[in-house]
């Protein structure tokens, strides 16, 4: 410590007057200069040696970080930091919400600059798909009738009893943090609780980890910590789907089937298997399609790569599966696609 404080005064000749010495008090000039050098005042442009940072403070702060990590790690979900996280979320949430409201219109700007050739390629692809769909449609009435019969049976057997609560993604965890999480602009005030399923128009997004009053944190299924019970739609083979922590275009998932002898076909659909009480995942939500199957004969295991339907690089509006009749500060979307719930909540107040 002592050498750190002494170095400046011994190394620097008092050749240059400090910048703040224009006060006209000559008698205090020398003292002010000494003090300035010791506390290393002066801008980036000023010459003169600065004291190095205090080692004891560094050690104290490093130990404080270690304490934080220990507190958070050893106590798990009962971490004393959870209330702190909630408080920080309540303060920061509105800022994130506001910023993302401003940014949202600008984020769409690149789409305006698509070139003519990409657009014509897209038209070709869509025309082709349209033909394919048209041919499938010809066989559809029979399938639809059969499905309607089944639907009546299942609807009578069990009412799903769930609604969707719309929410917007207002913050993304950076890839530097090696975890795939996003923030939603709805929290416990909107009726959200941890372990609710989050979906969007394309398929399964993830589940809610924790909520504050106005925000909630969602663990995406691409996170390495995420495990989803899944089944292959065509064969009903069950397995576990794990994230690989890659966001962006190649957000692939690994499926591990319980029965290794069941080999799915390419482009088979993978849907959620569902848990008791619909937490954390409700059943039957489409997740993605099988793209590759790698099998290792020696280890008698196989790795199935699943391409998710959801584009995790461009999440915006998502829906959270909540029980019907949840008290919420916003409108719910019912199972029949009707908007409702807000009036009921209003009457309840």
């Amino acid at each position: 410590m002592t050498d750190l404080l002494e170095r400046p005064s011994s190394a620097t000749p008092p050749s240059r007057p400090p910048r703040g010495s224009g006060r006209g008090r000559r008698s205090r000039l020398a003292r002010a200069e000494r003090r300035e050098r010791r506390w290393h005042l002066g801008g980036l442009g000023s010459s003169g040696e600065r004291p190095q940072p205090s080692r004891s403070l560094l050690v104290a702060l490093v130990l404080a970080s270690a304490t934080l990590a220990t507190l958070d790690l050893s106590t798990g979900s009962h971490s004393p930091l959870e209330p702190v996280r909630g408080a920080v979320a309540d303060v920061v949430g509105p800022f994130e919400s506001g910023t993302s409201t401003i940014v949202r219109p600008l984020a769409g700007v690149p789409d305006w600059f698509r070139s003519r050739s990409t657009l014509s390629d897209q038209v070709d692809a869509l025309t082709q798909e349209n033909q394919q769909l048209r041919s499938e449609l010809n066989a559809a009435p029979y399938d639809a009738n059969r499905l309607a019969e089944y639907d009546k049976l299942t609807a009578a057997a069990s009412d799903l009893g769930t609604s969707l609560l719309p929410a917007r993604v207002i913050g993304y965890g950076p890839a530097q943090s090696f975890s795939s999480t996003v923030t939603l602009d709805a929290g416990s005030d909107a009726g959200l609780r941890p372990d609710m399923t989050v979906v969007n128009g394309d398929g399964l997004v993830g589940r809610i980890l924790r909520t504050s009053r106005s925000t909630s944190t969602v663990l995406l299924i691409t996170d390495p910590d995420s495990t989803v019970g899944a089944r292959v739609g065509d064969t009903l083979a069950m397995g576990f789907l794990r994230g690989r922590g890659v966001l962006g275009d190649d957000g692939r998932l690994d499926l591990e089937l319980v029965d290794d002898s069941a080999v799915p076909a390419r482009a088979d659909t993978v849907v959620t298997w569902g848990s008791t009480g619909g937490a954390p995942y409700v059943a039957g939500v489409p997740i993605g399609r099988v793209t590759h199957v790698y099998s290792s004969v020696r280890e008698t295991s196989q790795r199935i790569v699943v391409d998710p339907y959801v584009d995790f690089g461009a999440l915006d509006v998502v829906g959270v599966v909540v029980p019907t009749g949840t008290q919420s500060d916003r409108a719910l979307i019912g199972a029949d696609g009707e908007l409702g719930g807000q009036s009921a909540a209003g009457e309840a107040r």
Binding site: G42, T99, A175
Partner: protein
Amino acid sequence: MTALRAAAAAGAVVLAMVLQVSLFPHLAWQGVVPNLVLLVVVAVALTRDPQLALVTGFLAGALLDLAPPADHVAGRWALALTVVAYVACRVRPETRASALTVVSTVAACSFVGTSLYALTGLVLGDGVGSAGELLQVVALSLVWDVVLTPFVLPPLLALFTRLEPARMG
């Protein structure tokens, strides 16, 4: 004046955090965004007395650890950014800093910060991908940080230099 300087640093940190979480993901490259909070910490360390720089690094890291989308073990970014502040104070030039010095400081700090964060993840078993992915993320974030340096560091340095006690009289 200390309160004013601390308020300026805190404001810059919060603004950087919000932009990093809400604005830059739209421009993300393989999910990697520029680490604006790290840039603010480096700027503080290049102008302010080192004690305040260390504290700013710790508090900014704690904010990154606790603010909403974060789900890792708290204290990891706090440790990484404290060390970043220390490194930036140590490598700070004795005389006037040239643009090259600032850029190389940012590059070194970005490398140290992201690697340290990843290493603590490995030690605590807190979900870090394979070594290849890890190096890719470290390299991409270094490139991002260096690219953003000419736009972010000069205004911050100007702001913090203006608030120096010597200037305030």
